[in-house]
């Protein structure tokens, strides 16, 4: 029962970040490959302040400010660079932020991470995290679904389909990108706020490249831009990921096999969705 609650909690806590990424990459076709970079900033800013002051409200405010800043920076990059250039640069930013976290040992404790992260008073057991995570994820999914179906979602789709036409209709690209990145950033913050309390630890290995591959696989397999599809693929792929723990193999073999498996799933997903992942521009 406890393992089932653990699975529910991890899926639910990962959902806000992945759904935010789905809005950017799946719906907006913005090649933002740095969602984990935003998570690094959100997690470290929040929990460093919490550890220093003991105050969660202050930590959350600082985390929010840092998240908005880094999201605005990514949005600026998306406006400044070609789409594929942004893809590479956002990966570079992610790796750069990870390098800073690993090397600034006096502040972040480097590869040791931040241990003994305190929990909020109402979060004690795995069940509490599963319940809160599910509520937050459901609320977030509903909100993004509303955003997706509303004016903002249509603007995002219009920009992804044909930027010039969308601009000629009065859609402000800078404003839409900035808002989209902010929403995705807040999703990251919601995720890390719960996840690291659950683990009692903020560790650099939680923000590695395999985690990003998992994000992309979930979005592509679930149907780019589809909130419902994304949730379903998140559940299925998380079950597969957690299920692999029970395969009787040494960690030295299981780790690489997991990389191969998720790489292959991503490739097959892209193959199946090659016509819809980046659709050709509409012509008259």
């Amino acid at each position: 029962m406890n393992f089932l609650l653990h699975i529910i909690a991890t899926i639910a806590m990962g959902a806000p970040n992945i759904l935010g990424f789905n809005m950017l990459f799946g719906r907006g076709k913005i090649l933002h490959f740095g969602p984990l970079g935003v998570s690094i900033v959100a997690a470290y800013a929040t929990f460093l302040v919490v550890m220093a002051t003991g105050s969660y409200p202050l930590g959350i405010v600082c985390g929010l400010a840092a998240t908005c800043s880094i999201s605005a920076f990514f949005a600026w990059l998306s406006l400044r660079l070609d789409a594929d250039g942004l893809g590479v640069m956002s990966i570079a930013m992610h790796l750069g932020l990870l390098a800073v976290v690993l090397n600034w040992s006096s502040l972040t404790r480097g590869a040791l991470g931040i241990p003994r992260v305190p929990r909020l008073p109402f979060l004690d057991s795995t069940g509490d995290f599963a319940l809160l995570g599910t509520c937050v994820a459901a609320l977030w999914a509903w909100m993004l679904w509303q955003v997706d179906r509303g004016t903002f979602g249509r603007k995002l789709i219009a920009l992804s389909e044909h930027e010039w036409h969308a601009k000629s209709l009065g859609i402000d690209r800078s404003r839409v990108h900035m808002l989209a990145f902010m929403i995705a950033g807040i999703g990251s913050l919601l995720g890390v706020l719960q996840y690291h309390q659950y683990l009692y630890l903020v560790h650099p290995s939680d923000f590695g490249f395999p985690a990003f591959i998992f994000f992309v696989t979930v979005v592509v397999a679930g149907g780019p831009g589809s909130v419902r599809g994304c949730v379903v693929s998140l559940i299925l792929l998380s079950l597969l990921r957690e299920g692999l723990r029970f395969v009787p193999m040494s960690p030295d073999v299981l780790g690489p096999l997991r990389l191969i498996l998720f790489g292959a799933i991503l490739f097959v997903a892209v193959w199946l969705r090659r016509d819809t992942l980046f659709p050709k521009q509409r012509t008259v």
Binding site: R80, L81, A92
Partner: protein
């Protein structure tokens, strides 16, 4: 590991960890590696307009194959290097046929995602086959040459010379041969080149494989000069693309110049005793490429050496 150069008596005493000439030599060594990888990639981007994110892994495959042939199969260094290059070419050809060609006609961004998937698969195989232990192609100690205040190994000298020869040969083929003219025609306007009878499909394959061989040569370079490790892959990819973006996408010579500039900045970052107060840890080196691009983007969004395509 190069010893710290003695700079007593110099005006820069206490400011530089290494002498300025040694820093330049180190930048030349690191820049040669990055230029080798970035040059081929810039050509691929210029012709196909696609990014190959599995490049770092292809680099390592070239290096690891040479290591395996020399250290495990006990072949001579020359045959191991040739084997590494051929294996790199073969893997790049597979990458092109399976992960790029079926996708880039649909949309040129698709290979960006498929090659990320391929990079993960290759990472897994590299970890399974060679483990995380550092591997060096030449196990014996390197003989060092002293050129004034610069200490450099024979292998490093040879690799710098070979890189320069390879780039010059590439420049000659690109600018002075019929094949090079065809290549430039495809880069400038593919449809027009095809209407003149140039088989662009074959050129695409050739260019992609050549870029893979350059990358494999880079991997062998790392395996001889330092140690091969699976964790190197993404930083190599990012550094090469940083040079391409900063140099102006599709501009081969811009990418090569920026590869050397980034290498020099990396060496300066960790080699200088900043404000006489602190050294920057070597772990920050890979962030230099990133900062460099950000500054370039602020000043010149299209890159330092923008190439202009011909229009009607």
């Amino acid at each position: 590991m190069l010893p710290v150069a003695q700079s007593r008596g110099s005006a820069l005493r206490g400011v530089l960890l290494l002498s300025p000439v040694q820093l330049l030599a180190n930048a030349l060594i690191a820049g040669s590696l990055a230029a080798l990888i970035a040059g081929g990639l810039a050509l691929v981007y210029g012709v196909l307009g696609v990014f190959n994110m599995a490049l770092g892994q292809l680099t390592l495959i070239g290096g690891y194959t040479a290591w395996w042939l020399h250290q495990v199969a006990h072949m001579s260094v020359l045959f191991s290097v040739i084997g590494g290059l051929l294996c790199g070419a073969l893997m790049t050809w597979i990458t092109f046929e399976v992960f790029v060609r079926p996708f880039y006609k649909h949309h040129r961004f698709l290979p960006l995602v498929t090659t990320i998937a391929w990079s993960m698969i290759l990472d897994g195989f590299i970890l399974l086959a060679f483990e995380e232990r550092p591997r060096s192609i030449l196990s014996e100690a390197k003989s060092m040459i002293s050129l004034g205040s610069v200490l450099i190994s024979r292998e490093q000298c040879l690799m710098i010379v070979l890189t320069i020869v390879a780039l010059l040969l590439f420049a000659w083929i690109f600018h002075c041969t019929s094949f090079g003219r065809k290549l430039r025609a495809v880069v400038q306007h593919e449809s027009a080149a095809r209407s003149l009878g140039i088989n662009s499909a074959i050129l695409h394959r050739v260019i992609f494989i050549v870029s893979g061989m350059f990358a494999a040569a880079g991997g062998i370079f790392i395996g001889i000069d330092q140690n091969l490790s699976p964790t190197l892959a993404f930083s190599l990819t990012i550094k090469a693309y940083a040079a391409i973006i900063a140099g102006g996408k599709g501009n081969i010579w811009g990418a090569i110049v920026c590869a050397y500039v980034i290498a020099l900045l990396e060496q300066l970052l960790v080699g200088i005793h900043w404000f006489g107060a602190f050294y920057v840890p070597a772990g920050y080196q890979q962030t230099v490429a990133l900062l460099f691009i950000i500054v370039i983007l602020l000043l010149k969004p299209s890159g330092l050496f923008r190439s202009f395509a011909r229009t009607a």
